[in-house]
Amino acid sequence: MSNHLLSLLIWLPMAGAVPVLIAGARGSASRWIALAVAIATFAASLLLLPAYHTDGAVMQLVESTPWIASLHVNYALGVDGISVALILLTSFVGVLVIVGAWDVIKDNKPHQYMAAMLVLEGLLIGVFCATDALLFYVFFEAMLIPMFILIGIWGGPRRVYATLKFFIYTFLGSIFMLIGLIYLYHKAGTFDMATLAALPLTMKEQSWLFFAFLIAFAIKIPMVPVHTWLPDAHVEAPTGGSVVLAAVMLKVGGYGFLRFSLPIVPDASAHYAWLVIVLSLIPVVYIGYVALVQEDMKKLVAYSSIAHMGFVTLGIFIAFMLVRDLGNVDAANLGVQGAMVQMMSHGFVSGAMFSCIGVMYDRLHTRQIKDYGGLVNVMPWFAFFMVFFAMANCGLPGTSGFVGEFMVILASFSANPWIALIAAFTLIIGAAYTLWLVKRVVWGEVTNDKVAAMKDINGREAFVLTAFAVVVLAIGVWPQPLVHLMGGSINHLVQQLAISKI
């Protein structure tokens, strides 16, 4: 079985969606099937850990079958340490969103919701497994559909505007990528990503391709100034949609940079690294201030996500300065590791933050900060989790939120102290917007009767938040296993950055 493990991981949840749909809206059968499928997928993803060897220079667990023979397109899968980590994140979050939606979506086509979630999960795993660029593109595009449905059907009042904005933005970006891929196919005669990575390209070609990829992934991750779809999408999305969106979908953007921009167009990436670095530093300050004044909790966390993802792109592209200008491979490794740990951490922390907001929303049906206040008086356990995740969100050591930021800041200092200086500003502004939120929502006297009637979290909610908390704490206390898992692959990637393709 282990030689088809990746296919299993992709198709198990998608196939599992069928019985969920058949089970229908009545009763709880659909939910139980969905949960069983999600747990089975998570269990199967854990098999990756023993199956994967962490030296990580080449793709492992590879599968390849001709798919569109006339175009030499293969159904080709494979994973390295980076993919394994992201697949684990996806399947883990996959279970928690099913549990999180258990009672919440009960009256509104729960079977379809669960099925959409499972399909989305399968497609996301597909993105992280694909080693054929066209296959990647198909998964990359296809995952928009279930997310479109999730926001469009179970979303808030302005869901139509939000879904359109979300869809058009990301679709627009991927169009550019498709053009780039077609050009590459035209040159290489294949969509095989390893071949494309070895393909010699002139600086001019690389530059065009670089911007094509940049637009696609910058929108996805998202970077300033193409980020405005994210707050709208989050605000309208149901809790589970927000969790998957923040925890996993944004990571596809960072993953794209690592899989496409870096290996295929390294020279252009190095040449334009300054641009990406500037675009990564702007959100730390600019988005930090924007987050500070948000009145809607989800928007605030959405903006905070943008600021955090700035560290991902910063860590990735700082590596070029370190490798090419300074020859500091170790610091470059530190930067890319920092970016990856930040991606993983943000997956758990933002997922947990959106789950917390979901818990509040389920009780009061509002996301406005001013409608809350003094929750600690009526929901002490919830307050515990909320403060814990808020602290993780502002990068407190001992939580996962610290690890990635710390690594990226340290690496940046070796490249240029001024970059580190701006990046480190997140310590202040991140704490300001997160803890001001906590002050207004959690602390204080109970502000109104509705809050006074709120009940503390139930067992199901406690399970979801505890699961997130355990991982956040584990990575914060001992990041080495995660670092080791990804280390071989990241080192291989960083070594490649030094080699010019011109």
């Binding site: 058009i168 100034p225 924007v290 502002c394 710390f406 200092f413 002050k439 602390w443």
Partner: protein, 675 residues
């Protein structure tokens, strides 16, 4: 020479954590008594073993301990670990932290007896002890930062302990953010250490520190700073946050919103001294930069004098002690700045005892006064609470540096070291710390007189309600008590007595080795060229001689002057205070408004930040970016509406625009690819 046992060190760090977890998660199950039992047990174990470790290091012939426990991350040549470095410096800190913590734990049983958050409070203070121990026992910068932020977290939680009070949640947010400003510098300092020295491990970094000489960091193309200065100043910015140095001192007075026991433990004895400890620990690096040390000295001296002056006009008994803490932290910082690291750490130790004593004593008064903190409603309490009264006097005399009391040895040494130093800024520092002695005496004796002496300025009305900390907002009428003040229970007074003993005696017995001997050994590094303590040590002839000599020195007579003034004003001529206040109105206003620092920060950073955020959001995100997006969407819509009329009318307009764009772009690529 034998090694310390790793298990013992682990137990020291983890026992308080275990107590915190049990009391925190199972507080309702194990109840109040269970909660205080597990946490006190944890801290007591930790304290006993800390004493054992110190004994082993000093008399038992144990070697310094420096080992990693596990690898936190390892990337190329960089690695960060969790580990312990135990030498006399860290062992002394462990003893101070766990001992004061234990006293505060016991005291809390009495102080928080009627509080709903009893188990939560014990969980927090035990967690604090764990984080503080991780900080002082660390053998690397990463773990130092973990402990550093960990104590910051607990401080945040404890300042906001009465979370219903708006002032408390304001204060804890403020404290966290101001500390984060310091941490901002601190993280960059760690980045600089890694960049220049290639390691996060203390010992490796200290061994490599001499290579910093001559290295520079390019700030601009043709301007460079010395590496040691950059590292020193950046790390010290961290200390400025945590140890509340000017201009990041503003959070400490507000931290008095927290319950009194933690003001003693966190905001006086231990956490706020973390910055002092850190600089002493990093002495091999700081010694390389006279510029950084001058910077440290000037900052410290400014705080020592000016924050002390604010203390003179405070009416809240806790706030007087809070400003006193700011001022004393300034003294320690001056000591660091003149390379008298041992003097700084020595004052840290004596201060921990007498300041914890003063805070707990103030807390005892507050209990007796039914949570009234305004000294204008006190007076004459000495006959109601003799133990508190006497122990407070011990603490006060130690604070003022009266010969033979522990504070004398540490504080006098700092004043003298500042006088001996030839470093840039030392004259200013000397004047500040010398005048500071007078200021210290003024606020200390004023506080003692207002609280314990003179006429009673409160009334006892038997039927009156019983006010409390946690519902302190709707307070009873000021100065009216339900029943007469009485001495606090033994759980409160025993810690006072146990802290009074070292406040009185520890200086006399330890000054020789710790201050002038080579007690700290290699833990503190001072280069020969500016070792002021060694110069002073040459003239040291025992604790007795030093104390007797102290009676002839300026600082002592300044204290006597302070006592005379306050006694005249507050005991013999109470109307005088008001008159002085009126005559020196401008000075009074400046001090009462605390030099307007809070107002300025609030206007610029808090309100200004929100305004800036609104501007960015409305002008940037909403108007420019979304304006362009929505504008182009409606443009597409209009074009497509036209197109739709031309065609069948069923084409989805957005998709159509995209396909059109796709074709254009494909064509463009093809075109450019072939030219």
């Amino acid at each position: 020479m034998h090694e310390l046992s790793t298990s013992i060190l682990l137990i020291i760090a983890l026992a308080p954590l275990a107590g915190a977890v049990l009391a925190g998660f199972l507080g309702r199950v194990i109840g109040r008594a269970g909660s205080h039992t597990v946490t006190i047990l944890g801290v007591a174990i930790s304290c006993a073993l800390s004493f054992y470790v110190l004994y082993q290091l000093v008399w038992g012939g144990a070697a310094n301990y420096n080992h990693d426990l596990y690898t936190w991350f390892e990337i190329g040549k960089f690695n960060a670990s969790v580990g312990f470095m135990i030498d006399r410096l860290s062992a002394m800190m462990m003893v101070v932290v766990t001992f004061v913590s234990l006293m505060v734990h016991i005291y809390t049983i009495g102080y928080m007896a009627d509080d709903d958050g009893y188990t939560r409070f014990f969980s927090y203070i035990a967690l604090f002890t764990f984080a503080m121990l991780m900080l002082v026992m660390s053998n690397n910068f990463m773990q130092l930062f973990f402990g550093w932020e960990g104590v910051g977290l607990v401080s945040y939680l404890l300042i906001g302990f009465y979370f219903k009070r708006p002032s408390a949640t304001f204060a804890n947010l403020k404290a966290f953010l101001v500390n984060r400003v310091g941490d901002f510098g601190f993280v960059l300092g760690i980045g600089a250490v890694l960049y220049f020295l290639g390691t996060l491990d203390y010992q490796t970094a200290f061994d490599a520190a001499p290579t910093l000489v001559g290295q520079t960091l390019h700030i601009t193309q043709n301007h460079a700073w010395s590496a040691a200065t950059v590292i020193g100043i950046l790390l010290f910015i961290g200390a400025m946050g945590k140890s509340a140095q000017v201009p990041l001192h503003v959070w400490l007075p507000d931290s008095m919103e927290g319950p009194t026991p933690i003001s003693a433990l966190i905001h006086a004895a231990t956490m706020v001294t973390a910055g002092i400890f850190m600089v002493a620990r990093m002495s091999p690096i700081f010694e390389l930069s006279s510029t950084a040390l001058s910077f440290i000295m000037v900052i410290g001296a400014t705080g020592a004098l000016f924050t002390g002056m604010i203390g003179i006009v405070q009416n809240d008994i806790k706030r007087v002690v809070a400003y006193s803490t700011l001022s004393q932290l300034g003294y320690m910082t001056v000591a660091l700045g003149v390379s008298a690291y041992a003097g700084a750490v020595y004052h840290l130790m004596t201060h921990a005892f007498f300041k914890a004593l003063l805070f707990l004593g103030a807390g005892s008064v507050i209990i007796a006064m039914h949570h009234e903190q305004d000294m204008r409603h006190m007076g004459g309490l000495r006959k109601y609470m003799p133990i508190t009264y006497i122990t407070m006097w011990v603490g006060s005399l130690a604070l003022c540096g009266v010969p033979f009391f522990s504070g004398f040895y540490s504080k006098d040494a700092i004043i003298e070291a500042a006088g001996e130093s030839h470093r840039w800024g030392a004259h200013y520092a000397y004047i500040c710390v010398l005048l500071g002695a007078l200021v210290t005496a003024l606020y200390t004796f004023r506080q003692m007189h207002l609280t314990f002496h003179g006429k009673e300025r409160f009334k006892v009305v038997e039927s009156h309600g019983h006010g409390h900390d946690d519902h302190g907002d709707h307070h009873h009428e000021p100065g009216v008590l339900a029943h007469a003040p009485k001495e606090s229970p033994w759980v409160v007074t025993v810690p006072l007595v146990l802290l009074a003993i070292p406040s009185l005696l520890i200086g006399f017995f330890t000054v020789g080795p710790m201050l002038f001997g080579d007690w700290f050994g290699k833990a503190i590094h001072v280069s020969e060229a500016h070792n002021v303590l060694a110069e002073m040590g040459a003239e040291f002839h025992g604790a007795l001689t030093m104390a007797l000599h102290g009676f002839t020195q300026t600082p002592f007579w300044l204290v006597v002057a302070g006592f005379a003034i306050t006694t005249y004003v507050y005991i013999f001529n109470p109307a005088m205070a008001g008159r002085i206040q009126r005559i020196f109105k401008p000075v009074y206003v400046v001090l009462d408004r605390k030099f307007w620092v809070d107002e300025v920060y609030l206007a610029i950073f808090a309100r200004g930040g929100v305004k800036l955020g609104r501007l960015f959001w409305k002008a940037g995100d909403t108007a420019v970016i979304d304006g362009a997006i929505d504008g182009s969407a409606s443009l597409v819509q209009r074009i497509a509406a036209g197109m739709r009329r031309l065609q069948s009318g069923y084409l989805y307009h957005y998709a159509f625009a995209m396909i059109l764009g796709l074709i254009l772009l494909l064509g463009g690529f093809w075109w450019f690819g072939h030219v």
